[in-house]
């Protein structure tokens, strides 16, 4: 274990189990909670765990006790054990697996198995043994429990005992069928896993120091070294080398050849830490080679490269069950910075709502823009009231709130308010998952409702992919204004059936919302320092007297009405011209050519529409390399080919020509 548990923390856990801890049978459970607590809470934060509520909050904040698990323990635990405590004990025994990682069906079966054992036994091992079907050998199970937690690696008796208990408790969370299956894999692979944990804690080529810096180790030499310096048998040596060969194959897909050895070292450390830490990360639920391939598949070899680019890589929870949610349990409240992300997010999400096409068909730009703004003003009121009043997750707006909104916006059907309210929340959620969680689009679409695991609300919501794809365009610390601007001007050309023109005066009205936010300039400077080209250009533009005066004036205005009044009476042609010159200098001739409605129309498809603005922005405004842009957008592998084609169509001169030809040939 990376750090040992202080006596005080053990005391807290005992207090938590206060009413039931007197029973000797509970001691292994208490010890297991303490072990897990030490694993999930960084050592320096352990002193902050003061009360039993803190322990439960720590488990909850790490996603170990989701509501669905607590529900599975309602009225199921004997002896007055509450559902929360029952769920936490189960979660500790299940660790490092998590309730959310199990199929909904499996979770029910495993919780039942655990509850059955809990109520009948007076010691976890006895309970487990009693529950085994006759065809499952008890001695094999006992041995497997030791191997699950690597008890043989413990240096002290106490640690060895707690690891062994941990293995038994993990098996208590498994159904008899699962145990039977695990035994099969255990009998095939346990001997190798024991040897691997002891002798192959670095990649074999590293151990042998054979061409470690190169991409092609001499495998015969590596085998020979292993034969000389380790007690690994022939088969184990071959297997170990094969594991490294497979790992190198995967790493080569993600990093350049010279970086492969470094990537392999990182991956090996990552896996070996989990294999030796005393928790069953490899739990004999498949053959070891399959588990290895799963880890390889889910490990982000490109993560380091992404970090160097200045933002966090897309975390794959599947690869790293310890991936910590952004909000730790002791981070109470929301900071102004976090709120700024959502203020920007709302401005973006707002533009994905339109006047219904069947209402008041637009006859001019002005009519359309006013109609859309009308819907968006209703949205503003809905959002304000949702945030200001506490409501349950599934509750609609309060009747008096709806009445108030209807009075303020006469002619709006009540049903529209309910629809807008539901859709707004879904789109804001997808924004959060994309911008802060850096989830890929497929992950976002397949998100389960936190309260109702059988529903995938985001999969059914149109507009989610547009919001999610735009939200990843810039890191959270930077301003989203330029991404927003690109979307506002370009998207109506990509989806002409949703007219939403942005004349200059309307853009200035929108700009007021951004520049009147006090940290706006700070975010721009941050982006400029990081090397963002549009932020640099914007910082420079703000030194220009003409724009300086405009922005200073906008900041003095107190509300949309004053802004409207100001914009109506102003001649803003010169500002518009300078902004156009700036854009032209920034994106160049090709960037401007691709802003053309006919060009965008030629390239649009249902699968790529939501990628067109992000690709254009990163190619011409941020001017990133293709790989860097793809990494920033966290593209699904299934989308990668389409996005690369789009990138090529926009950036390669010859391709641009062919795209135009394609466009001309269209009826």
């Amino acid at each position: 274990m990376p750090h040992t548990l202080g006596e005080r923390a053990v005391g807290v856990v005992h207090t938590l189990c206060g009413g039931i801890a007197g029973h000797g049978f509970l001691q292994p459970f208490v010890a297991q909670i303490a072990r897990v607590l030490c694993r999930i809470v960084p050592e320096e934060c352990l002193p902050a765990v003061q009360t039993s509520e803190d322990v439960m909050a720590a488990f909850a904040s790490k996603g170990l006790t989701p509501p669905v698990l607590v529900d599975a323990f309602l009225d199921k635990m004997p002896g007055g054990v509450s559902a929360q405590v029952g769920a936490m004990i189960f979660a500790a025994c299940l660790y490092p697996q998590r309730a959310w990682q199990t199929d909904r069906n499996t979770l029910g079966l495993r919780a039942e198995a655990f509850q059955a054992a809990w109520s009948k036994a007076d010691s976890p091992l006895d309970a487990l043994m009693r529950r085994l079907p006759p065809d499952v050998p008890a001695d094999g199970v006992a041995q497997m429990a030791q191997d699950l937690s690597g008890a043989d690696l413990a240096r002290h008796d106490a640690d060895r005992q707690s690891r062994r208990d941990g293995g038994v408790l993990y098996l208590m969370t498994c159904t008899p069928d699962e145990i039977r299956r695990m035994l099969h894999y255990w009998s095939d692979d346990a001997a190798f896993v024991r040897q691997f944990r002891r002798w192959v804690l670095s990649a074999p080529s590293c151990l042998a120091m054979t061409n470690a810096a190169g991409d092609r180790p001499d495998w015969e030499q590596v085998q020979a070294w292993l034969a000389r310096h380790t007690p690994l048998d022939d088969g184990a040596r071959r297997k170990a080398v094969n594991l490294e060969v497979t790992a190198r194959g995967e790493a080569r897909k993600w990093v350049k050849a010279p970086l492969v050895p470094q990537a392999i070292t990182s991956f090996w450390d990552f896996v070996c830490e989990r294999l030796t830490c005393g928790f069953p990360y490899y739990a004999f639920r498949s053959h070891f080679a399959w588990w290895w391939r799963q880890y390889l598949r889910n490990y982000r070899f490109s993560g380091e490269a992404q970090r160097q680019m200045g933002y966090e890589p897309c975390e794959t929870l599947a690869a790293e069950p310890d991936a910590r949610p952004k909000n730790d349990f002791w981070a109470v409240g929301l900071s102004p910075t976090e709120l700024r992300w959502f203020r920007e997010g709302y401005r973006l999400v707002r533009t994905t709502f339109f006047r219904r096409a069947d209402r008041e068909r637009a006859t001019s730009n002005e009519v359309t823009d006013a109609a859309n703004d009308g819907v968006r003003r209703v949205l503003d009121d809905i959002w304000y009231h949702r945030l200001e009043t506490k409501m349950g997750m599934d509750e609609q707006l309060l009747p008096e709130t709806i009445k108030h909104i209807l009075e303020k916006h006469p002619g709006t059907p009540e049903q529209s308010i309910h629809t807008l309210c539901r859709r707004l929340r879904l789109r804001i959620w997808s924004y959060a998952l994309a911008r802060l969680g850096r989830l890929r689009n497929s992950q976002i679409l397949s998100c389960r409702d936190p309260r109702r695991a059988d529903r995938h609300p985001l999969a059914e919501e149109p507009g989610v992919l547009v919001v999610a794809s735009l939200a990843r365009m810039v890191p959270p610390e930077d301003s989203l204004l330029w991404a927003f601007t690109s979307h506002a001007f370009l998207y109506p050309m990509i989806v002409p059936q949703r007219p939403d023109p942005w004349p200059w005066s309307r853009y200035i009205r929108e700009l007021w919302f951004w520049v009147s936010e006090e940290t706006f300039e700070k975010a721009l400077r941050h982006g400029a320092e990081r090397g963002s080209l549009p932020d640099r250009a914007a910082v420079q533009l703000m030194q220009d007297d003409l724009f300086k005066q405009l922005l200073d004036r906008l900041r003095t205005l107190e509300g949309p009405e004053q802004v409207e009044q100001y914009v109506t009476g102003q001649a803003l042609h010169e500002h518009r011209k300078r902004a156009a010159d700036l854009l032209s200098n920034l994106v160049g001739r090709r960037g401007l050519q691709t802003c053309d409605a006919s060009f965008l129309a030629a390239g649009r498809t249902a699968e790529t529409n939501h990628w067109m603005v992000p690709v254009w922005y990163l190619a011409f405004v941020e001017q990133l390399a293709e790989a860097e842009a793809l990494a920033r957008l966290c593209i699904d592998e299934t989308d990668e080919h389409r996005v690369r084609v789009l990138w090529a169509a926009m950036t390669r001169p010859t391709v641009l020509g062919s795209f135009a030809v394609t466009q001309r040939q269209e009826p």
Partner: protein, 281 residues
């Protein structure tokens, strides 16, 4: 400042109204005293820590799921089975971890080495002959017509078989590699307005592969009664596509060398779109 004022300020700020930095900071401090409101606000903003993506659930069970029998999957992981059928991204991950081929027993035991595609292909065509894949067999290659038109990567190597289907719909193309056997099988399936589908098949062998010097032969059998539908040297099927009616088929590629024979089997189900079936890939 009262908690109600703090709530109003935060809501105003998030809706886009001007709020001074000082006032916002004070509101954030005050809101900390109302843990319930903070929890509510985090939920509204999507900041809950317990959002779970079904893809993540699938990916964290990939190895176990891959080695389970179909009965075990039915009982223990029905949710993931249904996810796999609908999520192309996870299907791709699945086929990166799970071996594409599994050994199959040759008729009568012994005899040639037979490998069967681990999961059969189900191809569904609508009344216009447009095809899509159903089930969770290996995904077809991504074919983006714009790529070829735009001078990007060429479209998948064309076989002598079907190139373009009705209504300009391109064929579905699969590439099955057999690393052990040193060869790659290309399969194209294209819908036909008149019913059934057109099939193209080709085998590419590396120099060291036993299939290089072998006589290559194609057989198509009906799955339900194992009756031979069509057979002949593979070369015969390169120039023109093979037309198959709706049904369940077993496509067998045989490479007969001097020493031994290798067989690759691809179960292929060709289905007609059910008018009431609204599931889409």
């Amino acid at each position: 400042m009262q908690i109600e004022d703090a709530r109003r300020l935060i809501a105003s700020y998030l809706t886009g109204r001007p709020v001074s930095g000082e006032a916002l900071a004070a509101a954030c401090e005050m809101a900390k005293t109302d843990a319930e409101y903070i929890q509510y606000l985090k939920e509204e903003l999507g900041l809950r820590s317990d959002w779970v993506s079904e893809c993540d659930v699938f990916l964290s069970n990939l190895a176990e799921f891959g080695e389970m029998s179909s009965e075990e999957r039915d009982t223990e992981m029905p949710g993931l089975m249904s996810h796999l059928a609908h999520c192309q991204s996870c299907r791709r991950a699945y086929w990166e971890v799970v071996p594409l081929w599994k050994p199959a027993t040759a008729p009568g035991g012994g005899g040639p080495s037979v490998k069967r595609l681990a999961e059969g292909l189900v191809v569904v065509a609508d009344t216009f002959g447009r095809v899509r894949q159903s089930g969770w067999g290996p995904s077809p290659e991504e074919v983006v017509v714009a790529a070829a038109a735009a001078g990007g990567e060429p479209a998948a190597a064309g076989l002598g078989g079907p190139q373009v289907g009705p209504h300009g719909m391109g064929p579905r193309r699969w590439v099955f590699r057999d690393e052990e056997g040193g060869c790659t099988i290309h399969l194209e399936v294209c819908g036909r307005e008149s019913g059934g589908m057109a099939i193209g098949c080709r085998l590419e062998a590396a120099e060291a592969s036993p299939a290089t010097s072998a006589r290559l032969r194609l057989e198509v059998r009906q799955v339900d009664n194992n009756v031979l539908f069509v057979a002949g040297p593979l070369a015969n099927f390169l120039a023109a596509p093979l037309f198959l009616p709706w049904g369940e088929w077993l496509i067998r590629l045989l490479a007969a060398g001097a020493a031994d024979t290798h067989v690759w089997e691809i179960p292929l189900s060709l289905e007609q779109e059910n008018a009431h079936d609204d599931s889409h890939e």
